[in-house]
Subunit: 208 residues, 2 copies
DNA sequence: AAAGTCAGTGAACAACTGTAACCACAATCG
DNA sequence: CGATTGTGGTTACAGTTGTTCACTGACTTT
């Protein structure tokens, strides 16, 4: 049995995290496909070759960043979609949750929005897989909802996908208005709520 | 009055277009922020310095590509949203139109999806402006529709934005399934139709 | 027919890139 | 304890990058 957190492994994790953090910072103003390995190590204050001890390539680092940005987000799904007094209540809660997350982790959100369609295939795939997991979780949660009686599987999947996409659109909208005048930010929140409300209305009358 | 198309200006436009085409090709596998000017000139078969006769930088070229990809798309708005027999008819028509456009200009669609949130600020802004134009055109068209009676300005803008975003999501979905088995492509078309239909339903019952 | 314009060339530059081979030395293990 | 492991450092290499400068020569204007 080896020590799971000796001084050595702890130090290694620390450097690895420093590389991830530095990369995330540099990625605010460029895409992953133009991020140089030397650039990252320079920002951390470590030799270029040390990079290889942690990642095969910058694409590899990108995949790790996807895990970091989206991996810990799954528990939020259930709480967001869990039943509420009324629809508007739930919508307001969801929008606030997204706004809070964007404010707390803007670099992560930017990274995902940027690399979802970005130039690095493995990273794109990693994001697609995480989003598919989200969609499946949303679908499962929707299926337990009373208002989903009579819905076909395909319809449920369609709606789940719509919600996931809408979540990303909203997050990216909030990101753009992060340092905008407050009036514009309030308009963004209002737009996001209205769009979700329209989807809600469509949902209620879907089986007519 | 100078000749608007002497041999000289024609030749210049030809090389400029060759640069744009080559860049678009190279951008299928990377993002603009990692596209080198030498890379582009090499692909065209022209000296690196010739690049400067046409663009200040690769960012400049990117903005030109945005015009090329989205500029000629505005006339399609009116015809897409123009009245039809029934809603499903119009939805089917719109989805077919998007599918056709993606199949005809995949590189353009990929470029827009990729650089919309990409690492080059001027290009992001150019795309945002074009999309805002689209949204405004959609809003104007919606306002003439009989079913929009009683809608507030904010609601109309919200719906227009939703349509534009949905258009991009659909285009990017079709792009991903371009060389997938036909069954998957048909599923993508079906999903796109269902999502638009849900929005339609929400629209009809919005004022309840 | 002479003069002027200007798209494209070729050489040179300093700075940068990924990666290879080899070394140092502290933490870990038998 | 000594032996081993492995993170990180050092040096070096061959390519690449954006940009500059002076240039050619075909087209345009006078």
């Amino acid at each position: 049995m080896s020590h799971t957190s000796g001084v050595r492994q702890a130090q290694k994790r620390k450097t690895r995290q420093a590389l991830l953090d530095a990369a995330l910072g540099l990625l605010e103003e460029q895409s992953l496909s133009s991020l140089g390995l030397r650039e990252v190590t320079r920002a951390v204050g470590v030799a270029p070759t040390a990079f290889y001890r942690h990642f095969h390539s910058t694409a590899d680092l990108g995949v790790a960043l996807v895990e970091e940005a989206l991996g810990s987000l799954h528990p939020m799904i259930r709480t967001t979609l869990s039943p509420a007094e009324d629809d508007d209540e739930r919508i307001a809660r969801a929008v606030e949750l997204i706004a809070g997350h964007v404010a707390a982790h803007p670099a992560h959100v930017r990274f995902i929005a940027r690399e979802r369609h970005g130039g690095v295939q493995p990273v794109r795939r990693a994001i697609r897989e995480q989003l598919a997991r989200f969609a499946e979780e949303v679908r499962a949660e929707l299926a337990t909802d009373a208002s989903a009686a009579g819905w076909s599987e395909a319809d449920l999947r369609m709606l789940a996908g719509l919600y996931v996409d809408q979540m990303l659109i909203t997050a990216s909208l909030f990101l753009e208005t992060l340092d905008a005048p407050e009036e514009e930010r309030r308009r963004a929140v209002e737009t996001a709520r209205r769009q979700l409300r329209l989807i809600s209305v469509g949902r209620r009358h879907w089986l007519d």
